[in-house]
């Protein structure tokens, strides 16, 4: 048995290192979204070691939901990195999603703040494969985040499957996001459930579309929230440069005062209200922040 000796020491070192990897305080805790109001309502953000779901509000909001989920994944991967290491993000996509909403475009990911070299994309033909790869990824503590994107409502993504994913995420400390495209709400073990809708952006100069903006609703939050938020809709923008979500109303106000100062370009002073009116759905909605 003297043969086993040379490998014993590295093995021991490795298991020690793996143990510390799992014990790290960052493996638990919360991921702040960056938007103060949401973080306050969630008492500091979404749970890191958990499963979260993102639904698209309508068929046309798939890209918005994808963008929001990517933002969450980036937040989770970054807040985890107290040692400033860019951990990879695993994205598992069913083939049909590519056909319906277009395939992931690396320069676009780059423009949203994710270095495409950090992304590991798995393309699965069937929902079973998506689930399988998702569970495999959720168990790997070295990942920054896992994004699982099946198409529609496959039978395998049932309550048991989501429980399994949630358990895997709790065990490894990897934020696992389930992006449900073309699906209606179903019972699951997810810690939070979000609904994302595309929101008219704040126009730039010459009426050009501005930063990606989303209207978010927290459909479900296990463990409760502060205040009655289930009926609330938050309006956020994704701030690519700071890698965080910014509340729209707050952002608007600051952009007109101190925030606008360092910009080289004059902003068109359109208020949040003006946008809402253009949106045409719920004008008169006003928030004081």
């Amino acid at each position: 048995m003297h043969r086993a000796a040379p490998s014993a020491l590295p093995d021991l070192r490795r298991s020690l290192a793996e143990a510390t990897l799992r014990m790290r305080p960052a493996a638990t805790g919360r991921v702040r979204l960056g938007a103060a109001e949401i973080d306050a309502a969630l008492s500091g953000g979404i749970d890191r070691a958990a499963l979260h779901e993102v639904y698209a509000a309508g068929a046309g909001d798939l890209a918005a939901a994808t963008g929001f989920a990517l933002g969450l994944a980036l937040r989770a991967a970054e807040e985890k990195a107290e040692d400033a290491v860019a951990r990879p993000i695993l994205w598992i996509r069913q083939d049909f999603v590519d056909a319906e909403t277009g395939r992931l475009h690396a320069p676009g990911l780059n423009e949203l703040g994710l270095d495409p070299a950090r992304l590991l994309l798995v393309r699965a033909r069937e929902a079973e494969g998506v689930l399988r790869a998702g569970a495999e990824g959720a168990r790997c503590p070295a990942l920054g985040a896992v994004l699982i994107e099946p198409w529609g409502e496959p039978r395998v993504f049932d309550l048991t499957a989501s429980r399994r994913l949630a358990l895997a995420a709790e065990g490894s400390g990897v934020t696992t996001l389930l992006l449900r495209v073309a699906a209606t709400e179903a019972p699951s073990a997810a810690r939070t459930r979000w609904q994302a809708r595309a929101l008219a952006s704040r126009a730039l100069e010459a009426n050009a579309p501005g930063q990606p903006a989303f209207a978010l609703r927290l459909l479900r939050h296990r463990g409760g929230v502060r205040g009655d938020v289930t009926e609330r809709e938050w309006r956020v923008e994704w701030d690519r440069d700071r890698h965080r979500f910014a509340e729209r109303s707050l952002f608007d106000r600051s952009s007109r005062t101190d925030h606008a100062a360092p910009l080289s370009r004059p902003l068109v002073p359109v208020s949040g209200d003006g946008q809402v009116a253009a949106d045409g759905q719920d004008s008169g909605f006003r928030r004081t922040g």
Partner: protein, 475 residues
């Protein structure tokens, strides 16, 4: 078939006894033997069958070459003792061939040519080392496999056997019949040796197990694989190497061979990880491993080995993390295939589609820097891209302006904001010169959905109206 007549290509032992010869026309043969059963020749199928038999023979040695159309060459140098010497190997091979129902003739000799000549033109069997010349000189000159006219010329000269040729000076022989003939002669008589070119390159590291009785149950199968993987890991460790490719061949007792391939992203000799990959592979087989009447040999080959860098495990866990990700990639690649686990690399082009390339994560990613996005600017490129772009019907206010309304997937979108055009010229060195220019617009509809549209062509009186396409979706 030659000319328009149907001719005999091959026949069985019984037909030989009845006096049929190769090249005889079918009509002729039928006239002699009215109840002759003839089938159309299928050289392709024959060749495939020969390859299958070659794969089967892999169990004896990794060096197997085809000797078309009907032969196989096995380099058994250093393998014979595993099967009880050359005699044992010969007997085992004979038994195996008979079991798959093949008529055969085999010989073992010091050089491939000697063995071939002895099998085809001699008695077959084992030529003891150093006795090639003594035994083979009695073979007829046909053993040289020369062209028919050469053989006729030789026989006219009274040279019937190889012995007659050996006695002549080789210069005169090669002057008359060419260099090839004398080289062949030297090789047959064992004066010169040349190795065969094997069908599959010999792997660096091979471990195998042979069983007296075939077995089929999955648990013992895995137990054997576990042992083989452990053994291979030890061999690799002793050499300071790790394998990138592992090939497990299952030899079924009826001759079928099934090979499973496991690939790792970096050199590996971690038995535990390899076993996990093996299980993953077994689970994802489209057609399950069919044991039939059982396997009687299993062989693990490592065709691709690379120097193995001993990882230095620091306690901060960075190396462990990288290793964990690499292991994950290996498992995903094993399960989903090379081309389904991807990473992106940047290419230096302005072409929107070609700017990124998805590469298999199984190979190391080439270093490529992505352009830093412009601070405070919204994304200039969409998150999702349609390939090919989707045609839409669009109305523009002014000929070169952005659309004010477009229809995509039976829904009308009213444009609220737009930016553009961003003119992207085709790459004429790739697309050809008649690829039209594209004017791209970032537009947002009244619901806040953001699209990437482009127009090809211009609104001109004397040309076709421009066409609009939707190329991508922004978050």
């Amino acid at each position: 078939m030659q000319g328009s007549a149907l001719r005999l290509v091959d026949f069985d032992r019984c037909a030989v006894e009845l006096g049929l010869t190769r090249g005889m026309t079918l009509a002729d043969a039928r006239a002699r033997i009215p109840h002759l059963v003839a089938l159309e020749a299928e050289p392709q199928a024959d060749c495939e069958f020969l390859e299958a038999v070659a794969a089967f023979c892999d169990r004896f040695t990794p060096l197997v070459a085809l000797d078309e159309p009907h032969g196989l060459m096995l380099d058994v140098t250093g393998c014979a003792h595993l099967f009880g010497g050359e005699a044992g190997l010969g007997a085992l091979a004979a038994r195996a061939m008979r079991r798959i129902g093949l008529e055969f003739k085999a010989a073992i000799a010091g050089t491939p040519e000697a063995a071939r000549a002895y099998a085809r033109h001699g008695r077959g069997g084992i030529v003891p080392p150093g006795q090639e010349e003594a035994l083979l000189r009695l073979l007829p000159t046909a053993a040289l496999d020369a062209a028919a006219e050469t053989v006729i010329a030789l026989s006219r000269a009274g040279l019937k056997t190889l012995a007659d040729l050996v006695e002549r000076p080789s210069e005169t022989l090669s002057a008359r019949f060419g260099e090839k003939l004398t080289v062949k002669l030297r090789r047959i008589l064992g004066h010169e040796d040349r190795r065969i070119t094997p069908l599959r390159p010999p792997p660096d590291c091979v471990v195998e197990r042979h069983f007296a009785e075939p077995f089929a149950d999955a648990a013992s199968l895995e137990a054997v694989v576990v042992r083989l993987i452990g053994e291979a890991a030890r061999v690799l460790e002793a050499r300071g190497e790790g394998g990138r490719l592992f090939e497990i061949a299952f030899f079924r007792s009826d001759g079928a061979v099934r090979r499973l391939v496991i690939e790792t992203g970096r050199p590996s000799r971690d038995a535990k990880a390899l076993l996990r990959l093996y299980r993953e592979r077994i689970e994802t087989l489209a057609d399950a491993l069919d044991p039939g009447f059982g396997f009687d040999a299993i062989k693990l080959a490592v065709p691709v080995c690379e120097p193995f860098g001993m990882p230095q495990h620091s306690l901060d866990g960075r190396a462990v993390e990288e290793e964990a990700v690499a292991d994950l990639v290996d498992r995903l690649v094993t399960r989903f295939g090379r081309d389904r686990v991807l990473r992106f690399t940047a290419l230096d082009t302005h072409h929107p589609v070609r700017a990124a390339k998805a590469l298999s994560a199984a190979a190391p990613l080439p270093e490529a820097a992505w352009p830093e996005p412009e601070p405070e600017e919204p994304p200039a490129r969409p998150l999702q891209l349609f390939e090919p772009p989707q045609p839409v019907e669009a109305i523009a206010e002014v000929p070169d302006g952005p659309p004010i309304r477009f229809r995509w997937r039976r829904l009308t979108h009213d444009v609220a904001r737009a930016e553009g055009p961003e003119r992207i010229a085709p790459e004429w060195w790739r697309d050809g010169s008649d690829e039209p220019m594209r004017d791209y617009y970032r537009v947002e509809d009244v619901q806040g959905r953001r699209f990437w549209l482009y127009r090809t062509g211009f609104y001109e009186a004397d040309s076709a109206p421009p066409r609009w396409f939707l190329h991508g979706l922004f978050a």
